[in-house]
């Protein structure tokens, strides 16, 4: 063909390829007014939560046409790793969800956006909607860094069929730890007659897991014990109450043997599976427990067979705060380019109607007083009403950035005691020393803590 035609074809070819490359390389054509908010949450990996969140965001995007939500799922175990790395590098999801366990560390490292201007702009009394102790956790030196989300107290769950089989009255759950132990011993038996014990009274977490804190703390608090001294500068594990609580916890495994073998390898999921298979009769759990047990074994009809009750207390004392609670919160990345829109998202997911939706879809209780205290569907639910009632007896663990290291020292001490590697006193003593060492940054030189 002629030279001119050839040149023309080459030119058109070049132009087309250039345009093609340009459309791929250059950012997609979005209308400049639409802001994209990246929303990251481990709940997106859970089917019922994922569905609930997606439905919620359809509503949100309709009401806020200029904001588009981009979902960024992350696994529960890896979320801190991902968020810290991203925020350190100057990026990070605009809105993300964390367990209270990590909030203090994130706050101290500067990984959370200061929301105080937005909170103040909502007017006085805005934060009154939430339980006071949950809002306190979101603050540092009077400034707000997160808004509380799920709030659920730890309660005792028991299988009423197993109670009846062991001759116990399901309408009378144990009120003291002594009663509890009696019940547990009766419930630990050979159910199928083959000579081996195949069902135990109680199941708990012995593995190194964030779930350990939620199961040991109620035992400690209901014995009127504390982790640290009032000023958070010293370990309080040397107090008689703490020693007694740890000994009780430990004796259940080593002396009374009311817990299935291999407790130091048992994480929360394993314990719920044991419950689903009627291998244990009781456990400490919260709002998430019945649905999971039910999913593990639909034949058990867990929603009917399980009952909830407040955590037992030590006989003869009446501590006001006997249990602890799970708390999660929503926060904004300090590197966000769209803080106003991110705030709209946070406000939306923690609003009254959304919190009611989270209960309906995922059975979680809210840190909003107008939901956990007033939502009638919640208050009619046989589990939720007990959990809600216990919220006022729930105390949080000390809020320090060193807390993950401190609780792990106690977690490993419990393991050492369970396996008999150390006596409970020895294990606790070593943990006590370790914690005092960790807290030494808070003490002036010369200030010493009482030894074990």
């Amino acid at each position: 063909m002629s030279l001119k035609l050839r040149k023309g074809m080459i030119f058109i070819l070049l132009l087309t390829s250039f345009l093609l490359v340009a459309t791929i390389v250059l950012p997609g054509g979005k209308k400049p007014e639409v802001v994209e908010i990246v929303f990251s949450d481990w709940h997106l990996t859970e089917p019922h939560w994922e569905k609930a969140l997606k439905e919620a965001f359809v509503i949100f995007e309709k009401e806020n046409p200029n904001i588009k939500i981009k979902l960024d799922p992350i696994s529960y175990g890896e979320k801190e790793t991902k968020y810290t790395t991203e925020i350190e590098a100057g990026v990070g999801p605009d809105v993300f969800h964390l367990h209270a366990y990590s909030i203090k560390s994130f706050m101290e490292k500067g990984y959370l956006y200061d929301m105080t201007p937005f909170v103040k702009a909502e007017g006085p009394g805005f934060t009154d909607a939430w339980y006071a102790q949950t809002i306190e956790l979101m603050k540092k030196e009077g400034r707000y860094y997160a808004i509380p989300g799920d709030f659920m107290s730890m309660v005792l769950y028991y299988n009423k069929n197993l109670y009846r089989e062991a001759g116990l009255d399901p309408a009378k759950p144990p009120k003291t730890w002594d009663e509890f132990l009696e019940y547990a011993k009766k419930l630990t038996r050979d159910r199928d007659g083959d000579g081996k014990i195949d069902t135990w009274g109680f199941g708990t977490i012995g593995a190194i897991s964030p779930g350990f804190e939620l199961r040991f703390t109620p035992i400690l608090f209901s014995h009127d014990g504390s982790y640290l001294s009032e000023d958070n500068k010293c370990s309080a594990l040397n107090t008689p109450e703490a020693i007694e609580a740890m000994k009780f916890f430990n004796d259940m495994v080593t002396v009374h043997k009311v817990i299935p073998p291999g407790v130091t390898a048992q994480d929360p999921g394993t314990v719920r599976t044991q419950m689903a298979n009627e291998q244990i009769a009781m456990l400490l759990g919260s709002g998430w427990t019945p649905p999971i047990v039910d999913t593990n074994n639909p034949d058990l009809k867990a929603l009917e067979v399980l009952e909830a009750a407040p955590v037992p207390v030590k006989a003869g004392i009446r501590p006001k705060l006997t249990t602890t609670a799970w708390l999660s919160a929503w926060m904004i990345s300090p590197n966000t380019k769209h803080p106003e829109e991110a705030w709209e998202v946070v406000k939306f997911v923690t609003s009254k109607r959304m919190e009611e939706k989270w209960f309906k879809d995922a059975r979680v209780l809210s840190s909003r007083k107008d939901v956990s205290g007033e939502y009638d569907e919640l208050l009619r639910d046989k589990f939720a009403k007990i959990i809600a009632a216990e919220l006022e007896h729930a105390k949080f663990v000390p809020q320090l950035k060193e807390w993950p290291q401190i609780i792990e020292a106690i977690n490993t001490a419990a393991q050492e005691a369970f396996t008999g590697a150390k006596s409970p006193g020895q294990a606790l003593g070593d943990a006590h020393d370790q914690i005092n060492e960790i807290l030494s940054v808070y003490r002036a030189s010369g200030e010493k803590c009482p030894s074990f």
Binding site: S105, P261, G262, T264, T270, Q415, E416
Partner: protein, 301 residues
């Protein structure tokens, strides 16, 4: 070769100013360049961080991390556990790999089939491996106890990962499963390279199988064995995913290897600087151990 000859001539004109040895350096350059570009900044950051105070905004030079780790009981414990883990797994990888390689090298049928089975564990990622074995080891839920109990071998629920005495052997057993195939392949290759004549000569001389093994097989394989040992040792020091998913260091600190301890301080407690200090110490130890191997590879064949 006409068009290529002219191309070669162009190359030669290009290459002539460079000395022969410098050309060698140019070949190595992309590799060095990539490593420095990708890892230079991270390595430098880690080393610099190790000399900074923990959790403080102000970066001043301090040795406090190194002093702290010298006094840290858990650090020394993790070193101990690491050494036990590394030495056991490397030796077992070698031992099991060697025996299996010998078997696969023998006169057997269905060699390809067996080779495929032998390589299977290598294809499973670290993380999945840890999860699977953890579930299998579960006292009441796991398949291992179920099999042992139904075979009548034991009546108790054996606490594989829950007992301080059994946890390391159990982890090592799982890691050998994961790790021996690679060593086995290397050894198998080495075995197949041994000239048949040596074996035939030995047989003529009336040597037994055992003597053949000791005097022919092993000396020929020496270099291969040392390579496999060197590589495996370095990799086992860094092994992380398996133990993280199996026990997270428990019970107590009995399975807390150094890489896990460093991870905890970095991503759980946010003690970036302290973790960096420990990692630098770990790297120095590894460098010292691997120095003889570096010398050996550098030697020309």
């Amino acid at each position: 070769m006409n068009p290529s000859r002219s191309r070669l001539r162009t190359f030669r004109i290009f290459a002539r100013p460079f000395s022969h040895q410098f050309q060698g350096f140019l070949f190595v350059l992309p590799c060095i360049l990539l490593l420095v570009l990708v890892l230079g900044f991270p390595v430098a950051t880690a080393v610099v961080n190790s000399f900074a105070p923990i959790w403080s905004e102000v970066k001043k030079f301090t040795l406090e991390n190194y002093i702290k780790l010298l006094n840290d009981k858990l650090f020394w414990n993790s070193l101990k556990v690491t050494f036990i883990f590394v030495i056991s797994t490397v030796l077992l990888h070698l031992g099991v790999g060697f025996i299996v390689a010998l078997a696969l090298n023998a006169e057997i049928k269905a060699k390809r089939f067996f080779r495929l089975i032998a390589i299977l564990p290598w294809t499973v990622p670290d993380v999945i491996c840890g999860l699977i074995w953890r579930f299998m080891y579960n006292p009441t839920l796991g398949i291992i106890n179920a099999i042992l109990m139904s075979a009548g071998v034991t009546t108790r629920y054996i606490e594989w990962l829950a007992s301080p005495k059994l946890v390391l052997p159990s982890i090592i057993f799982a890691d050998v499963w994961r790790g021996y195939p690679f060593v086995m392949i290397i050894l198998l290759a080495g075995l197949q390279a041994i000239p048949r004549e040596q074996y035939e000569a030995a047989r003529v001389d009336g040597a037994t199988t055992l003597q053949e093994l000791i005097y022919i097989t092993i000396p020929n394989l020496m270099r291969v064995i040392l390579i496999a040992l060197a590589l495996d040792t370095i990799w086992q020091f860094r092994r992380f995913g398996l133990i993280y998913n199996m026990t997270l260091g428990g019970p107590g600190h009995t399975s807390e290897i150094l890489s896990l301890y460093v991870y905890k301080h970095y991503f759980k407690y946010f003690n970036f600087e302290y973790a960096s200090g420990m990692a630098v110490v770990m790297a120095v130890i590894m460098l010292i151990i691997s120095y003889p191997y570096i010398r050996m590879i550098a030697r020309k064949a």
